[in-house]
């Protein structure tokens, strides 16, 4: 029985090969397994020339924490090297002694923990208005790799009104 099978395979091995190769070829075209390991890298230029205007480098959407807050926070870099934060389509609630600050992303206060003691922050100034577009200069030494969370912070009651996690633009 065994020798008979071997004999059949032996006699028909070319046919088996002819069958197997197209099947493997079909499977390869369907699944293209090599693509799991090969990368195709591109690097197109922006559809516009780098301009003399400030360029957005980080941006994020504002979300409410203690008070409803919405809009967008974007950090722009001017050609002269200065950076500023711009709030656009911005709405938050009014309050006493409200400031715009930058926090570390892992700041405990962002978890809703009541703020006790000194907050590790970069101060950008008093909130200019609780609605509308507004700009805040960043200190030249600001490390945006560390402090990439914008927070609307009420100093008087140590409450965070809203935050935005910035991501690269």
């Amino acid at each position: 029985m065994n020798s008979k099978q071997n004999g059949w395979i032996g006699r028909n091995k070319w046919i088996l090969i002819l069958v197997t190769i197209p099947v493997l070829a079909v499977a390869w075209w369907e699944f293209r397994p090599e693509k799991l390991f090969l990368n195709e890298k591109v690097n197109e230029a922006a559809p516009f020339a780098a301009s003399v205007e400030p360029q957005a480098i980080y941006t994020g959407v504002l979300e409410g924490k203690a008070h409803p807050t919405s809009g967008r926070a974007t950090i722009y870099k001017s050609p002269d090297g200065k950076s500023f934060l711009r709030l656009s389509d911005f709405v938050t609630s009014n309050g006493p002694d409200v400031h715009v600050v930058l926090l570390k992303a892992d700041e405990k206060a962002l978890g809703g923990v009541a703020i006790t003691g000194e907050l590790d922050k970069v101060e950008l100034g008093s909130l200019k208005g609780n609605q509308g577009n507004q700009n805040y200069d960043l200190p030249a030494t600001t490390d945006l790799n560390k402090y990439k969370t914008v927070a609307i912070y009420c100093e008087r009651f140590h409450v965070i009104f809203g935050t935005s996690q910035l991501e690269k633009f």
């Binding site: 197209p22 693509k35 990368n39 890298k41 690097n43 230029a45 559809p47 941006t59 656009s88 991501e167």
Partner: protein, 171 residues
């Protein structure tokens, strides 16, 4: 024995028939590749055509999420002074795959395992993914309703798989 041969030949014939569509697929793929080069040239031409278009403004932006096929980066819709809209991917990275396209879907966001066909989600084709890494531009059709098509998806046509999605929000 003769019957055995016939059976084997029949199987081989079927396998070859099965291979024909994939051979045409392969040709599609090669055309696609050459189209990629064309579009790359077009892009560089566009770059010249649009010139120093300082008025191209970001309208919408969002970041990719995708865990099944790790996808990250940013998708931004720009509008030029001539009114043309362009989708630009930056800091972009996804896994490579067969027949991967960039599409817009009529949804606020897409789950990582979203199935747009069974979910009957309306889609707009923007073209084959030019590369699985790096900055790249895709022209948007005129009159596109961006209030309806709010999410960019990196979509594998062959397996109907959403590699990653970026919900767009006003810039």
């Amino acid at each position: 024995m003769v019957r055995g041969w016939k059976a084997v030949l029949a199987v081989a014939g079927l396998a070859v028939l099965g291979a024909i569509p994939s051979v045409t697929l392969a040709q599609d793929k090669m055309q696609g590749d050459s189209m990629k080069k064309d579009s790359a040239m077009q892009d560089s031409m566009q770059h010249e055509d649009m010139g120093p278009d300082k008025n191209a403004k970001p309208l919408l932006t969002g970041t990719f999420h995708g865990k099944v096929h790790s996808t990250s980066g940013r998708a931004t819709v720009y509008q030029g002074a001539d009114g043309k809209k362009i989708l630009r991917l930056t800091h972009f990275k996804t896994s490579n795959g067969p027949d991967v396209h960039v599409i817009l879907v009529a949804a606020k966001d897409a789950k990582d395992d979203a199935n747009f066909i069974s979910g009957n989600v309306e889609r707009i084709e923007l073209g084959k993914l030019k590369g699985n890494e790096g900055d790249q531009n895709y022209e948007l059709p005129e009159n596109i309703d961006l209030a309806k098509f709010q999410t960019v998806s990196i979509y594998c046509e062959r397996f109907n798989a959403n590699f990653g999605a970026a919900p767009l929000a006003k810039f």
